[in-house]
Subunit: 288 residues, 4 copies
């Protein structure tokens, strides 16, 4: 991925006060990097929180990456009580995709991957069903079939952990129909992205599309979010909706829902891989 070789991105969160932008850009400039994109956002100039994303070019940087980070950690970060992180394009992020039987989200990701539109290496696909093995391997990507035995979810999670821990940077639940334990989730903080349907109003319980149909909703939607222990309550990354009418059967609603899901999940994954998402408590700041 040549277009990433010389790129780095700095994400910052800190209390807002005067001088942050000046300090950070000055520091980077003085080390020979060229800032190409700067996005910042403050919840409030007085007493609010400040968020910033900088993308910069490193070919003329006058020190090594570790030295830059050391200097930043000593000179800039403490002055503003910053939480910060620099990622380097040269360190390609590795992604694992978890999937069950529905293949629409998986296929969209694989297709984008093949066309070079995802800045990642898809390291593996894991499924609790063997069905999609051939489709995945046609892309030259390892496929692992890890069934979930009723009453012994722990074993399958353990097997997945062994495959993934330390080996992937992002876990995408591309319609993986198993609920992950809080323990499993804790191994990948802010590293698991899920997609699920959303309705106005929300429907709880089984078969939400049937409920939506019976309620006569005029919109159906989907939400991509980080996974936290509490089910479907993680920070929202992206949402969208499509119009429906009484003419949409449940089947047609589901088709539309799948179209939403694959687009929305793909966007959320792209933004993650391009370091565009900053977590702020239970919400996300997305610098699209």
């Amino acid at each position: 991925m040549d277009h990433l070789k010389n790129i780095a991105r700095l994400l910052i969160t800190c209390p807002d006060k005067p001088g942050i932008v000046a300090s950070v850009t000055n520091f980077l400039y003085s080390h020979g990097v060229n800032i190409t994109t700067l996005d910042q956002y403050s919840t409030d100039a007085e007493g609010g929180n400040f968020f910033m994303r900088l993308e910069f070019q490193t070919p003329h940087m006058d020190i090594s990456a570790p030295a830059l980070e050391k200097a930043f950690a000593e000179v800039i970060a403490p002055k503003f009580e910053m939480q910060w992180h620099i990622s380097y394009g040269a360190n390609i992020k590795r992604t694992a995709i978890l999937v069950s039987r529905f293949d629409h989200c998986l296929q969209e990701l694989l297709w984008l991957y093949k066309r070079g539109k995802l800045d990642t290496e898809i390291a593996m696909v894991i499924s609790n069903h063997p069905d999609l093995k051939e489709d995945v391997e046609a892309y030259g990507i390892p496929f692992h079939y890890i069934p979930v035995k009723k009453g012994d979810k722990g074993a399958s999670e353990q097997a997945m952990l062994e495959l993934m821990e330390g080996k992937v940077d992002l876990v995408v639940l591309a319609r993986y129909m198993q609920i992950l334990s809080g323990d499993f989730v804790s191994h990948f903080p802010q590293q698991i992205i899920n997609i699920h349907h959303s309705f106005l109003p929300a429907f709880v319980g089984a078969d939400p599309y049937r409920q939506a149909y019976e309620k006569g909703v005029k919109l159906i939607g989907a939400t991509a979010h980080y996974v936290i222990e509490e089910l479907d309550a993680g920070p929202i990354i992206e949402q969208d909706v499509a119009r429906v009418s009484h003419r949409h059967s449940i089947e047609k609603m589901k088709d539309l829902g799948q179209d939403l899901e694959r687009t929305i999940l793909a966007n959320a994954v792209k933004w993650y891989l391009e370091d565009r998402i900053i977590l702020a408590g239970n919400k996300t700041i997305v610098f699209e």
Copy 2:
């Protein structure tokens, strides 16, 4: 409203079985009416429910309206166990608008009304605050200030009933911030339309825009619905959403929400006045 003078609309709900369309169109044709629009929908050809809306021209009708209805009631309706209703454009529907202090929905309706885009006579505006009196009277529409005394909502509802009962066909809650009693609602079955904000996910409790902001939703929405006794649970007529990002303050979200509310409520009111909405249990069939 000259364009309505010769128009009538027939709405039908019945169990689906073969021959409904043929029978109804035949009947109308044999009485000299010219069908200009026919919309129908069946939940299932076998054992489903059937819904139909016909708009027709009456100038060459060979019998009077009462005679037509009598014939229909005797010849067609029983054969198919129909619930049905004919409305005549010449009988202009009368509308009452209930409003509190926010004027965005009211202003949109008044503006459309003035331009001849609402097939109704706005018979009155009622408010629990005196603020909008002047704005309403500038349109030549009677304004009634009926305050709601704490602990005695009954008195104000009684006053409103006296003004409206038998005198209006539609009650529009254009951001009327009082909860109407089940008793009041029962005087206007499927005749009260309300607008309220909607979010993915839904937020209960006070200040939902603040909750939406704090949750970092990427969409805000609004829903127009019929009012039933259970709060905000009535059949949905229309919904829409707008995109927001972290850059939207709560204030900006509310502005956007108001833009949604006025458009969505106006559409729902138009559809009601044009007899485009059929209630089917707790959902609506809208023949847009």
Copy 3:
């Protein structure tokens, strides 16, 4: 395709006058068919044109399909000067896809096809480049590589005609980058669907995305249309747009454009296969 076995669809165009719906539905009813969907539209009740689409179930039809058509042709059609056509679900439509190198539209159609969402048999894919051969054959669909020699387009069109004429009902140009001759087009009247980019304002000449970028448009779009001899001027079937800003590079605009193209073309193809499109002069009536 079992869900199509018992379905037939009747499309009608004629001058509007009273009694059309009654006559047609009566006729069908008297022959034991059950109308499940009826859409009609009139440009004007007086002196306008009338369009109707009926979908009906044939299991209890009391005569054969040819007999039904003969009766309709003799009894109903002449009375109203109808142009009409009945298609039967049991006669699966056959589709040829023409493609060059861009695969996004092709992949979307193949993927929908595999999932059973297109009511057709994809009989062949033809390309002027060999690149996509493997992708197509993985679906078990014949792939024909027919290069276009400079200055001798006639030979390739002749080769395509031999493969397709009488053997396909629909030709989809899924980003086929050759201009078809008027002669070729005349073999498939209202049977060729193309997709192309659309902008506000329109840009003529080379590299329209660059022009759109330089003009700073805020929307990019795409249009699916029937192919007629005059380039890109055929009747519009479907259109959509996506928002862009100055932040979208030409590359990103093209990605978004491809997403639009695949969705819009897929919808147009679905509607064609479901007999939802009626041509009215140079415009389409689409009964979605």
Copy 4:
């Protein structure tokens, strides 16, 4: 407008090279201003153009506004060959609205104005028809009726210039149906905003809605743009579309078009008043 009292905005255009953000933010920080929003965009890090918008708080600024500007002009601007402008919230922009008979755009702007959503003083409304005088004066805004005599447009333009020149910062053409001369336009460079309908494809000549209807377009749109001498060719500020189908009469299309026009024009005007638009040749960079 208290919320504007302490705000200033700096807009910058220059060739991109390293150090711009650092220099500018450093300069401002050293003078005690607090940057609350910074948006920047570069067409290309190497040899491209750089655009930046900063919003900052001035209460703790250590020098006067003129002194700040003088210092910036001497120390920062020349180093980067900047075109730049600082506007101060305390200097409320004055707006003139030009209108003919259609009132939808005017009403929207007046309504937003009354609610405090436009950061401007509407100094006057000018019309070539007397019809809207009463509506405008109800808001306490001066209304000037300046008819346009056939063959003597010059006189009316001269009368308008006398009213507006040096007295307004922005001229909004809210469906003003007269073509302004190049000479008139040259008095208000990048200060006149117009709204007009847009279609895919574009239609030239009279009655574009009829043409769109006859062509069967599936989308109608509108564009807000700066006015330059060449008609409707000025830089685009904002665009949007709405879906239509064959069911939309020309009348209904126009209603929808008016809804688009009022929203899009209002957005463009808001962005202008908040200094969010930078002109880059014939395109706009809008920092929404």
